[in-house]
Subunit: 390 residues, 4 copies
């Protein structure tokens, strides 16, 4: 094998954290300011008046110094009471982690099982909810883009099921890896709490969690008896109104967020989504050309942000990823939980362009060849063909 | 009045966030890396094996993507059960916020009232704990350095009270604004949970919270029934052992933390503490020369990190601070809660040196003169005298 | 002596390079771009259409990747022919270095001697030029702000002498340490070549040299037979017209320059000059209070950018500076050439504010005390008094 | 045509300035320091004791704040006298610019004409030098890697010609775009002055020029009568010995240079050269697959740093480059002088890796297709094949 040392940039092609643009890193590389002073108040307002658009909402969006996991917790503890019944559609590792978190918080969690290859099943959901005639189920939790499998769920369909049944469960959606990549329609789907994080389509380092909150959720909040402190919406909404936060916010990540919103607006959200679709299509063309299988089964559920690929029998995905890291200085996403060793994931989200995609796919193709996995045909040629046509 | 535009650097002399050193900002201004890859594992280990020294402990330290408020919550929910009785010594605004947070979490909170000018009173504490013969009090919470008043509490004395009575309450200490400024002796005082944050003596931007955890606290954790998810120590300790975190950590703030530990070690913690004492002495000399009064009453409780100063009758502290900000581009700390408008605070903590202190005090002195508050004598001359002698 | 480690920021109080603002450093911390592409052309034009205002001119300004010394050379080789007679007024070390450079280039250099405590003497100049009835003198070189002594020269007066005599010598002015600190009136004084550099009032790192060029100088250029290549104005002016340079320019320093022009414009040049005057006055008040002597003799020639101070007999200025560096992490300017060991210089130029000035003066005062030089009275109090009154 | 906005990083694939690594940008993003203080002296020494290795020399290397053009001038004016005869082998645009510069400086310049597709011709050189029996030719100037054509010259062969004839002409070599990419053997080839710049294989922004200087050249310098000031070696060598420079150096670019030397040493120069060879081979494989022609004729002269490609008849290279910039945010090098519009150049030098190369070639291939130039076969597949085999 030839030479390849880690010259040049590292290729961070996991499905998040994503490659943080220089402009955002440099925005973060500014002296921290007084979080109670006028400059900070302007910053807060400038963010809050623009952040909603990314969530497709006119509702307030609450920002936490936390990971996305914290934002999951926030959604639950702000709206529910001890022992409440929560229904979660299993779509993969992240739906299961959310369920596990909810159990730790003392809720009665029910999981609608899935095969990790499809999104939430409306039929299954309709069946289960229609049984719940006394409305014991207080919240329905869905992962919009299941990062572990590259499968999206149809949130609008879930909303239709709830509406058709007149079921009052709160609709909670994890948009951690869809926000800023795939359209999120908090208002359009009448989501009650949209949960997200900073390190995917928002192009920031990790460290911020988000809750977009419907009026229904705010009503629920006033009745909810789950103990809460840090995550409490009311104190945040009250101080946000004055351009402040109830505790010291993650100022430098807010500098970064402000710049990220500039960048998304400059490109235009529609263009951002189209770019992600384009790159996902090209990636799938490459996977197909290589003769490998997607984890995702249904075309209409393919993720624009991440593509999970099944390893051929007899090959270990983690050894493959280690090889690619060692040889091409590229990080790929691992198979998680029951997919460990059997799946690798290609992140093509965030601040990304055609040539970076081609470099990424070339790295996978070179890695496959060196790892002894014969490609059916050239993936990069197929990807290029797709880019040309789209 | 003469000319003064915001040329030069902003003076961030609030008691935190502190002036982040260039070296730390630049460490943070690096591309985010894969939080499941080998480089990240090395980073985690390099931090975890060194962070304990700053807390004066060989116990594990857990790091959250959160503010210090989140770390308060973590300390409580990891060790207590619903309805547990918590005793908090009132020392100022932050002890009260902790109490309020604990109430929101459903604990039975009792506050030993204070006058906001003294630290926790051992006599009062001994009296109260000795009444608690059935050990209903499960946790005693103290703020080591009360940021709102510039008053420290004697944690060692509190530990002696507990020991003398054989009282098993967990000792929880907020070291948010003392860590890295004033010696914290987690092991020496046998603290059970030391709570801290990133944006003070650690010289980082805000966004990380800390819990240093004694073996007793870890035992309590196994019995504690308070619902918890995000803050759960066990999942963090388990993944930390492999150089990872249970959820996406705030990678770039960890880059910064790693560099902060380098800097503290290069200077030497003893030197760091001595530097803070020196600057606090000089600041108090200036306050005395100006003829103004400290909020802190007892010399042995004076804070090395922040000096809270009472405004003379008839002057509004917030108007004064606004004037100093406008004229000298310096942010001073406000009086909080019941001290609002009556107190301003000078932060002299973090990455700071003699000349920066002199610039700070000159700004206060110029501001007082312009604001119409006659100084008894020259504060900066008094401060300089102190620096010369120490 | 007490403790003082290099915590906090270094104090770079030499008379240049000056403290580079974060905003400029961050502008420089951007990926280099194609110097023949459209983005670069926009950058060039954005700079060139604004840079003249800082020089007080509508004439073209040529930018070199060079130090200020290179810009001295450029002024000479573009306008003169081998063996031409050049007259230079000695004002200090930098006038002498310019003379030495001119000699190395083969010109016949005549120096009007000075005592390094006054600016160029119009009477002496008039006397000399009036003898030169056949106009053998082709260029008159003056240093606007002599950085080694803190003395300015009256360029307008020199122009008047030339005009009164009808002497056609080119007027060349070194504005390296005045530009962006003290008003430069290239057009108002009808200077033929104004020479400058990036690392003083422009607040950039060193690495750029400048020539502002009058129409007369451009005419002279067409006749000048001094060999030249790199410095040739014509190729630069020709390519600048297309937003480019004849060779690879120092792109990242141009990013920085573009931001520096933003900052100067935001503050307003008049305000910038007033700020420098204010700080120089306060510095001189401190020097006077300390009982030390200025190098500069005439108040009307005091520099707003730098103050050179004579050490008392028996004390070595370099040992003093080393002490201040060691103890307070502040760099002061050294005495140069014949002033070595006898003079130290306080730079108060560039991106600077009142509190930074006070910190600087406090450092000098503390250093003097520790070094065993008794101050007559408090310099910082005197400086503060000046700031209050102005 | 599909969507493609400038998301992601710009692709700077001109043959310099190259993509500056983050680590170098961040090194440059540090406050400027006192260029006469001890920290700076350490920096200078740390650079000077390591820079020679990159030039393959134990001779001193002089560093200028300048572009590479300035370093060309420095080589000439330090060693020659007015009217000296200089022989330059024409290899392309840059050899011609050097000749033009030398003429402007008043030397008698003779150009051995070339066809811009081959390196310096030893036979032609031998013929010309053997005629020069009275050694009128004082200097022979060669461009090691002709950036405009992607052709290298055999410097060792030129040295052998000089030796065989006993001709004493100084051997001067432009290594601007070879240094740090292709091995430079200043000592091995007994080059007298090796000229270089910062913005190619050294991975810095532009702004530094270099002269590596043999003992013979230093001897010549003592006799040379060409007027000189800024470029004078003696003052630089004398002050360098004390860790300083005769004028304010470009401090922040020196920070960057220090880091660049760290990086080159960490990778190992042999590995750096091998990496460049590998990428050049793969690029040529792509060009061949596309059915396009190289400018370079002889395989043994192919450049490892840049590949110049002839456009097919009927297509304008600049329009093609504009298209690639617009569509894929990639800057390619233009055809220079007589190659304008007929050639484009692919830079594959500096901080670069396999996947970045593949992205680059994909961008060219996509651009060709969109521009209507049919590829014979897939260039990226051919390049990948080459990478796999090497």
């Amino acid at each position: 094998m030839g030479y390849n040392r880690p010259a040049g940039r590292h290729w961070l092609q996991i499905p998040g954290p994503t490659n943080v643009p220089d402009r955002i890193l440099r925005a973060m590389d500014r002296p921290t300011i007084d979080h109670r002073g006028p400059e900070f108040q302007d910053l807060t307002r400038h963010i809050l008046e623009r952040i909603g658009a990314v969530f497709g909402t006119a509702d307030p969006v609450v920002i936490y110094p936390s990971s996305g996991t914290g934002a999951w917790e926030a959604a639950l503890v702000n709206t529910l009471s001890p022992g409440d019944h929560v229904l979660i559609c299993e779509t993969g590792h992240f739906s299961n982690l959310w369920a596990q978190l909810a159990r730790g918080l003392g809720f009665e969690v029910e999981v609608l099982q899935g095969d990790w290859r499809r999104g939430a099943d409306s039929v299954q959901l309709e069946a289960r909810l229609s049984e719940d005639t006394d409305h014991a189920i207080k919240a329905l939790c869905l992962v919009h883009n299941e990062t572990s499998t590259g499968v999206t769920s149809d949130i609008g369909a879930a909303r239709e099921v709830l509406d058709a049944l007149g079921h009052p469960a709160l609709l909670m959606v994890d948009a951690v890896s869809s926000l800023g990549c795939i359209e999120v329609r908090h208002d359009g789907w009448r989501v009650d709490v949209t949960v997200s994080g900073s390190q995917k389509g928002l192009m920031l380092p990790p460290g911020l969690g988000f809750n977009a909150i419907s009026a229904t959720a705010r009503d629920a909040n006033r009745q909810a008896r789950q103990p809460r402190g840090y995550w409490d919406w009311q104190s945040i909404l009250a101080t946000n109104a004055q351009g402040m936060f109830p505790y010291t916010p993650a100022t430098n990540l807010l500098f970064a967020l402000d710049t990220a919103l500039d960048m998304l607006n400059e490109e235009g959200l529609e263009n951002v989504f189209a770019r992600h679709r384009r790159h996902a299509r090209a990636t799938r063309a490459a996977v197909d050309a290589w003769g490998l299988a997607l984890v995702a089964r249904r075309p209409e559920e393919y993720s624009s942000a991440v593509t999970a690929v099944s390893m051929p029998e007899g090959f270990d995905a983690d050894a493959f990823r280690a090889h690619v890291l060692e040889r091409f200085d590229m990080s790929l996403g691992s198979g998680l939980a029951k997919l460990q060793g059997r799946v690798f994931r290609i992140g093509h989200l965030g601040d990304f362009n055609d040539l970076a995609l081609m470099g990424t796919l070339a790295g996978v193709e070179l890695g496959l060849a060196e790892f002894g996995i014969a490609s059916k045909t050239s993936g990069i040629s197929a990807a290029m063909q797709t880019l040309k046509q789209s």
